[in-house]
Subunit: 386 residues, 4 copies
């Protein structure tokens, strides 16, 4: 296969030292106590990046396994669960709740804005009898970011546990699990962490552990059961053979992040994202959102006469660059530029925007300037301000 | 971590070209149609190695996910399932059956022998009202191999679907899925295939697909639901982001196998295993089994006064070699030598046996000769016979 | 070290499959006959790319070793050697000639143009008593390409052997060793071949071999003596331990080239180079050359008030991009853009030119347009013409 | 090519982290100042391992380039050079001396013993008018080690510079360049350092530098001229493009050595070598040497009726293991086992000796025991003594 650069919102580029780490020989992950300790250390390093002293687990699977495992482990038949919905993935949480016998209550909001905290607060005053609530930190199909620093503490005031999908948020945006009192925070390796796809990440608070321990029914899964890891350090064994190469790769990817510094990484994402949003609008395009702009991905409305799918296809064929449109009702409406992790460097985004500019003009768009140059100008301005 | 060679029954050594393949940059696995086709090709190549034209799926997870997915996808509440039990993993299938609402009927046999086909036949004459049956091809804790070529066809005669756990069997032993009429055959990448841990393998017969389609209740899982892959080629999208590097690594590992030739690979395993069994007995040790000796792993009884755990620990500390004992009641009784996949080469096994010989003698064992030499003599005799 | 993309005229980017090949375990290169054969095959594949059935040798060293080895092996004390000089490297050949006792006769031409064939022809009519002549295919300090298809045959008519330095030419430009009757053609791996630095390449004609065999004095070097390889296939041994990983890497790099197709590779270089030259001039800059424009590198005159060194430094510090100025008298005058091998892809050159554009404007240059866009427009026009 | 394990005296196994380092992308080695500094650091780290504060250079070439460069840079026409000869490589130094116009005086000794220091001392009393002297630290064809700690200081007393070939010695044996007053110490990466083949190593004392500066004639080579590196740090440029990946690989290999600790590495080599020598003799074979046993390689006399070449060939074909015989008059007499660098681990040597044992017995040798076992017993005894 010819290599096709991709700026979809994940998987992102994997830095060379991370790739090479995944090729290393590894010790026996089943019984070797040194490996068990190593696994634990990488979990803790992951926790450091997520801002939590809670237990962190790395599951052998794609990010969605983290969401299913959170819901499977918490939900008992009949449990009421509050599903905050202002995006396609946010709404999707209800399926996991139902699958494990829970009763989802979906609270829906405008998809063009981040979740309005006041509205949630008003709702909770009237109805707050929920075992837990779910919401998405960064809902990629529309590129929205929700304010986890207000939502989780608010829910916690009512004794409601929170399950937050930060798969496409963490590392690109602050998640600060402990400060924000998130009970189960879910992540994946292939987004802003920029490690290979294949590990799902969960942090589990003491309250969440208590809820699992207090269950009256067994968890209806083995692979999605977070309790199978209970006491793995003491027992000296993990619930299944761990993909040791993936753990090594994640370890190096986390080192890359910590070496750059979390604040510097957030700043880099913010500068890139701000410059993308500024330049795209100056260029004559419209953003999908009215508020809650994510720093990891930007969704742009493509004029109807061109269409997002045609633009995507054209750019792929003409410029060998892979971009994503969106899902469901937005499939032919939105073009999304992923600018997270290793893809959030100005020289890469510059190429991408120059190609989009040319693609749009080739297809008849009347542009107000050169998109790459507008981006570079905006990016320099961003950096100068600091 | 210092590298510790391991001859546990998996994970096995990964050949260098497979390691390096896992470090390659990959195209976007979510939407890129070329990747979807590539995934499909690797699935078909996996099918070729398993001897099946059935659909084969590669799931992002450890081998046990294949077992859970098979049971989750087939079992409806109340379904009767026949669990053939002559080993620890064989018996364990009942947990998955129960978890998804089925009623396991456990038919237990002597753990020192492979499943007696006649006894199963006699039983089925009386009771054969089962949706499906489960058994393990190679039950590693006791190193037994069961005769899939007789068991699956027999069950099929009664219209009973078969779910076979061949995680530790396939590639080391013939599995011949189509010839043996296996409905769902489960595998993992880290055993005799000698690819990195991280992909679960299932082949699904048309009868198994029909059983899933005919379900009256939804499958109570997403991650363990085999139907989420339905029509992925037509839809051009897979149910979650695939670990593309793992697929590339598996592809190369399968090429290695096909290049050596499946028959040559089986012959290599058989010669090594025969020589191990012969030499271990000449040396003065006793095999656990009376029949059904696997060619991928050998379980040896360690004299009580030494103990398997002490021997394992001593060898690890003294010779930096990692060996496995067994599980549960056999934990301090059996030492297991994994000789599958890339570990099934005489020069590796020779080192391992020489170390075991020295370890045993250091701990007071009265040996009848030099184990490494006995092995090499037996191995040469094996090869000369052909 | 932080990675700094470099578009100097070499070393170029190394494709991932080439990098990974260099990490492979290798067999004993000293005595293993299979390795000797493998070395020979890669030499022949190199010959295929160079268009020759002559013997090709890969020496363990940087490209300059090829030049020294050619001169060391041909030159005897007192030999007259014609040194064609229209560039810094061309002139430099005289040093090797002198070092090994020869008498260089330097024929110098305008550095802004390729070597004028007629002038050489006129000169030869009067004086042609030379053992061999030297010239450079692509003289990178000024980015000139000389017409090997006319020069070598002309010299050959007079019985003069030719030593051609095509280190920075071959693969980016046709070299066609046999058709052009080049006696010793020199190359290196790190330029348009895009393999790691570390192998020097020479092809040796029968006439050149005869000249070596007819020497009256021994060759005054071992490491730069091409005769040490004589009969290595028959003897089954090479003159020193070969860097086997480098041979493997080169092998894969040559496969990449042959898979793309030599003509396609030349076309890609030509299109990129034409578009660079067109756009740079439209943008308001001046090329150094008046004729003989190389397709592998372009030398641009930087306005005095900015200066090439300041621009280079500024771009490196501001945009983390490494560009080369030139050597000697041109050091502060010329900026050179290397666009050869893996660096000759439009998306890379686009980034580079956009950065140069911004760097120049930051330093006060009055540009006539956006350089990246001018390049992309010119590049598209190039491609449409075909 | 099928991988063939090799226990010739080099190239040795390269540890995985070193292999992977050689696959890394590298910055521009020509002008990037950060790379120049990095090169310098690795040179200094190499010096640390060699025990010297002298300048150390890494040349792009095989180890023999270091020898030629030392002789080329020191020798002026007519210079008298003392060549100490007690082995094939030791004697070979005279060729380099002659090639660059020097007059070698060869002082030959018994090839079965290390150079007798008293005899050299006696000779020097009578004749010591030499610009420099050459000798080999470890002369691999006969596996001899010479006592550099006495020879170099002795020669230095007479004002004679020393050029020592420690290609196959350093890291496996103490070299201590400064303590032993070695003027030019030569090495290669592929022996006990266990990095990929491709870099030649030289350390240069101030006295050696002075000798080069005081030359009246120019050095008759560019590639083998150590003065081309003069002032590279100040000039910010190296004499040719460095193979940056090789430098990175060497860097990691040196880290491996320093992490284990030089004394531990020497101890490991000594223990392995002692155990090899003890067991080989107990087994009934004879060592070639009477004194001066190297810890990096052992030469064993193979009974005439078997012959070293037949044994080598048989083992290669039957057991896929590559061993070296010797050179010239010893080609069919000696089998050599390389046990240096990454090959000096007991589990590897154990396999090798077991195979040799079987090979010999297959060919009719009457052995006194099991060679692998004898080795392991001797090795344990070695370790216990400490």
């Amino acid at each position: 296969m010819r290599f096709k650069p991709s700026y979809a919102p994940g998987p992102t580029d994997v830095r060379e030292n991370v790739c090479l780490a995944s090729a290393k020989k590894t010790n026996n992950p089943d019984f070797d106590q040194e490996f068990i300790h190593y696994y634990h250390q990488v979990c803790q390093k992951m926790g450091q990046v997520m801002g939590t002293a809670n237990e962190v687990l790395l599951l052998a699977g794609e990010g969605i396994l983290a969401l299913e495992a959170a819901c499977a482990s918490l939900t008992e038949p009949g449990d009421r669960v509050l599903v905050l919905d202002n995006g396609i993935y946010g709404k999707g949480f209800q399926d996991f709740v139902k699958m494990y016998g829970g009763e989802p209550v979906v609270l829906s909001f405008d998809y063009h804005k981040d979740i309005p905290v006041e509205a949630v607060s008003d709702y909770l005053e009237k109805d707050h009898d929920f075992k837990y609530a779910t919401f998405v930190h960064c809902d990629t199909p529309t590129s929205i970011i929700n304010d986890v620093s207000q939502l989780s503490p608010l829910l916690k005031e009512y004794g409601i546990l929170t399950v937050v999908d930060s798969v496409a948020g963490m590392v690109g945006e602050p998640i600060d699990v402990d400060q924000n009192q998130i009970d189960i925070c879910c992540g994946g390796t292939q987004k802003a962490i920029s490690a290979p796809t294949g590990l799902a990440i969960v942090s589990i608070s003491e309250d969440a552990k208590k809820a699992m321990n207090d269950r009256k029914t067994p968890i209806a899964s083995y692979y999605a059961n977070l309790q199978t890891f209970n006491g793995y350090m003491e027992k000296g064994t993990l619930p299944y053979t761990m993909p040791a190469g993936m753990i090594e790769a994640l370890d190096v990817a986390l080192d890359n992040i910590l070496q750059e510094g979390l604040l510097a990484v957030y700043r880099r994402h913010a500068n890139i994202a701000n410059a993308v949003r500024t330049s795209v609008q100056e260029y004559g395009l419209t953003l999908f959102l009215e508020s809650g702009y994510s720093n990891t991905v930007t969704a742009i409305i493509i004029p109807e006469e061109i269409g997002a799918l045609q633009l995507q296809q054209y750019i792929q064929e003409t410029y060998n660059l892979y971009l994503a449109t969106s899902l469901a009702q937005y499939e032919d409406v939105l073009l999304r530029i992923g600018h997270m992790g290793e893809n959030a460097f100005y020289e890469k985004v510059l190429s991408v925007l120059t190609v989009i500019d040319n693609g749009l003009r080739d297809l008849g768009f009347k542009a107000k300037g050169n998109l790459g140059q507008l981006f570079l100008d905006a990016y320099k301005a961003e950096n100068e301000e600091q």
